[in-house]
């Protein structure tokens, strides 16, 4: 690190080669994870179900998975519906990564944002959708942003690590949700604790039987977030603070302000994910509402290399797995939890990309795990002192 290392000489590479270098690690990680998933299916069916050895079982399971998610128009719509909250929340987590922040709190931000949207939606259930829907979504965004902003403020003001504070805030959010739905917002004379329905504030269906307006909102968010990160001053500040907060401060930027702002942005996106999910699908908030979107968003952001254009296909992949998991369980008798196993193994292969890149043909591939501009620079072969220790791992 002491002497300036000469930049690697740039060889003219073909277009195909360039695309392969970007996609290689994620694609190999996904393929390997599916293979491991197949082994898991066979081994567990032999050991636990005492079934006969059936090499066709994984094919049957994956066939059902693909069939349920991509095999029909309804399946495709369902894939998009499942991908929508993952995309929005995943964009939020990715923005956090770019600023060097590890936001594990998308879960809590999602829940409170959803609650805020449902609250407004239910209050304006009979008002014009032109007023109630935007207002409900904005309230969801604001509540999500404020909730994440707490963690951002604590980080900026006292250095409290955002990983721990966001985990804690997740559980506080869960308690608040349960208290509000069981208490003040409970729909009277309903056997289960649940809020009132959102009525006319429900998002209109734009495609298929349940493809709600949220699909479009999520899709629009991708270029917007890309533009914000790569074409605006604030985006440059976010990326600079993530790459090297000290250098950013010397350059006259305000890392503390950027940290709070980035957390609020991430929380706003997670809150929006909650808002569109509840206004688009559930239409009311039960006290026991449970979701794993907040955690899946982390995987989606990592698989998408913290780049908005990468998060889009990553969210579609996980949306497809969620859409098809039900059919897989019914047709092949393979529990839907397989999706988590595959998810964990994809992540595993992504973080051990150092080892993965020793495979033939992957030598020039870019790192699987890109969280900041510093790690991106390292993956592209540019020496950056800040890249040796990911900012996330500094002290907890």
């Amino acid at each position: 690190m002491t002497a300036a290392r000469p930049l690697p000489r740039r060889r003219p590479t073909s277009r195909v080669r360039q695309v392969w270098d970007v996609l290689a690690v994620p694609v190999v990680a996904i393929v390997l994870a599916l293979l491991v998933g197949a082994v898991v299916i066979v081994v567990f069916s032999l050991l636990v179900s005492r079934a006969t050895f059936d090499i066709g079982l994984p094919l049957k399971a994956y066939g059902a998975l693909v069939n349920g998610s991509l095999g029909s128009f309804d399946g495709l719509v369902e894939t998009c519906v499942q991908a929508t909250p993952l995309l929005l929340a995943g964009l939020g987590v990715a923005v956090g990564f770019r600023a060097g922040l590890f936001n594990i709190g998308a879960q809590g931000q999602f829940l409170l944002g959803a609650l805020g949207s449902v609250w407004v939606g239910a209050a304006l259930a009979t008002a014009s959708p032109l007023i109630s829907i935007p207002l409900a979504l904005v309230v969801g965004v604001v509540i999500g942003a404020l909730w994440a902003g707490i963690a951002g403020y604590l980080k900026a003001a006292s250095g409290a690590h955002e990983v721990v504070t966001t985990i804690m805030l997740n559980y506080v959010a869960l308690a608040i949700l349960s208290w509000i739905v069981v208490g003040p917002l409970r729909l009277t004379n309903s056997p289960q604790p649940v809020t009132a329905g959102v009525g006319d504030a429900a998002l209109p269906i734009i495609i298929g039987s349940d493809g709600h307006l949220g699909l479009l909102i999520a899709l629009v968010a991708v270029p917007l977030m890309w533009f914000l990160l790569y074409r605006t001053t604030i985006g440059f500040e976010i990326r600079s603070v993530g790459a090297n907060a000290d250098a950013a401060r010397y350059a006259g930027m305000r890392p503390r302000f950027v940290i709070v702002l980035t957390m609020a942005l991430a929380g706003g996106l997670a809150g929006l994910a909650g808002g569109v999910t509840l206004l688009g699908i559930n239409h009311q908030m039960p006290a026991g509402y449970s979701t794993t979107v907040g955690f899946d968003a982390i995987t989606v952001a990592l698989l998408g290399r913290s780049n908005p254009w990468g998060v889009l296909p990553a969210s579609l992949l996980f949306g497809a797995m969620r859409a098809g998991a039900g059919l897989m369980q019914i047709q092949a008798g393979v529990p839907a939890e397989l999706v988590y196993i595959i998810q964990a193994i994809i992540l595993l292969f992504l973080i051990i990309d150092v080892l993965l890149r020793k495979l033939p043909g992957l030598g020039a591939a870019k790192a699987g795990l890109i969280t900041t501009d510093a790690s991106q620079a390292a993956a592209e072969g540019v020496t950056a002192a800040a890249a040796t220790i990911p900012p996330v791992a500094k002290g907890l």
């Binding site: 559980y171 982390i298 397989l338 964990a344 990911p390 002290g395």
Partner: protein
């Protein structure tokens, strides 16, 4: 005496505190016992965290290790019971051969999962937070997957460890009685937890291993120069911590209940992490914090079952039950933010150690 108590209770505002004190004092034997029951898995998770972070490895996969411990312990005990039969339980703790086999299997499984984290964090030097996230997702997936397959076959139950029932003569002793009742009227894992806390506290601050562990967590390079094998010590401690966390999981499925549900750890690994921070990375402190959190839960339960009478009861019944659920997390955030004294982690916590080239 009664007149004095009524007098104290009657004081405006301050009287409420006396009423609350009297309410808690009345229920103390029960509260103390419930608190320990609730605190044990949290304390074991916190001890796992202390072991890891004192040697410089951040582990947010404790939740996953506990879940695997709970599942493996339960399923192996159940498989052993259906293969070899239950056997007659020993008079103390209701120990049977299948239960012991299950417990050992749980500890080994926990150590294997911890080994994965150790390999990723120490050798591959990946981001330790992501490695912990992987552990959690993997554990949720594998235990959920197997549980769905196994539940279809309605497995035989292996029973559970039972509490040590103290003779009434002892529990009826004044003051000492309820203390003994709280700590000793427990199953083997709960009692072991109290012992582990004390042993770890002594080892960490009074033994050669403890000094080395702390050195490796604060300044690995300095430790290496005096001849401590940083990598090996970190491996050992992280693997050992896996057994501790798995014990906490096994407590849930083999002592508190005799069954497993998907995701039954329900965030206890994360509360354990919180207890570790509030307890300032010491075993005794972490245990104290776990008890503190558990007392909140226990009082919350007591209030929802039998609220106190009078003014206080009116006030407490207005307090949402979820208040006590959120309390541990809020306390942790406040302490992290430094409002009530900072809690400072070991200096090298979360930083991978790279040995310098030996030429």
């Amino acid at each position: 005496m009664d007149a004095l108590i009524n007098g104290l209770y009657g004081i405006p505002v301050l009287g409420l505190f006396f009423q609350f004190g009297g309410y808690v004092l009345d229920l103390l034997p029960i509260l103390a016992q419930t608190s320990i029951v609730v605190a044990v898995p949290i304390a074991l998770a916190a001890l796992c965290g202390v072991l890891c972070e004192r040697s410089g490895v951040v582990n947010i996969g404790i939740e996953g290790i506990m879940l695997v411990g709970a599942f493996v312990g339960w399923i192996v005990a159940s498989a052993a019971a259906s293969t070899f039969g239950h056997g007659t339980p020993l008079p103390v703790f209701g120990i049977t051969a299948p239960l012991v086999i299950g417990l050992v299997a749980a500890l080994i499984a926990g150590m294997f999962l911890a080994l994965l984290h150790a390999w990723l964090a120490i050798s591959v030097r990946v981001d330790q937070i992501i490695s912990g996230v992987i552990l959690n997702i993997l554990a949720l997936g594998v235990t959920g997957y197997l549980n769905t397959l196994i539940a279809a076959q309605s497995p035989q139950e292996a029973g559970k460890f039972t509490a040590l029932s103290l003779p009434r003569d002892i529990t009826n002793l004044p003051v000492v009685g309820w203390l003994l009742h709280a700590v000793l009227d427990q199953g083997p894992i709960a009692i072991a937890t109290v012992i582990i806390v004390i042993v770890l506290q002594v080892l960490l601050f009074r033994s050669r291993w403890g000094l080395r562990t702390r050195a490796v967590g604060e300044h690995p390079k300095a430790a290496e120069t005096v001849g401590i094998d940083v990598i090996r010590l970190r491996y050992r401690n992280v693997i050992a911590s896996g057994a501790v966390a798995a014990l906490g999981g096994a407590y849930l499925s083999m002592e508190q209940t005799n069954s497993f549900q998907a995701g039954m750890t329900n965030g206890r690994g994360f509360i354990g992490l919180a207890a570790m921070i509030v307890g300032r990375w010491t075993p005794i402190g972490a245990f104290g914090a776990a008890i503190l959190f558990a007392v909140g839960t226990a009082v919350g339960q007591a209030i929802s079952v039998g609220p106190p009478n009078g003014q206080l009861g009116d006030l407490l019944s207005k307090l949402p039950a979820q208040f006590f659920d959120a309390l541990p997390y809020v306390v942790t955030i406040i302490i992290l933010a430094g409002v009530v004294g900072r809690s400072i982690p070991p200096a090298a916590d979360g930083k991978p150690y790279e040995r310098e080239a030996t030429t």
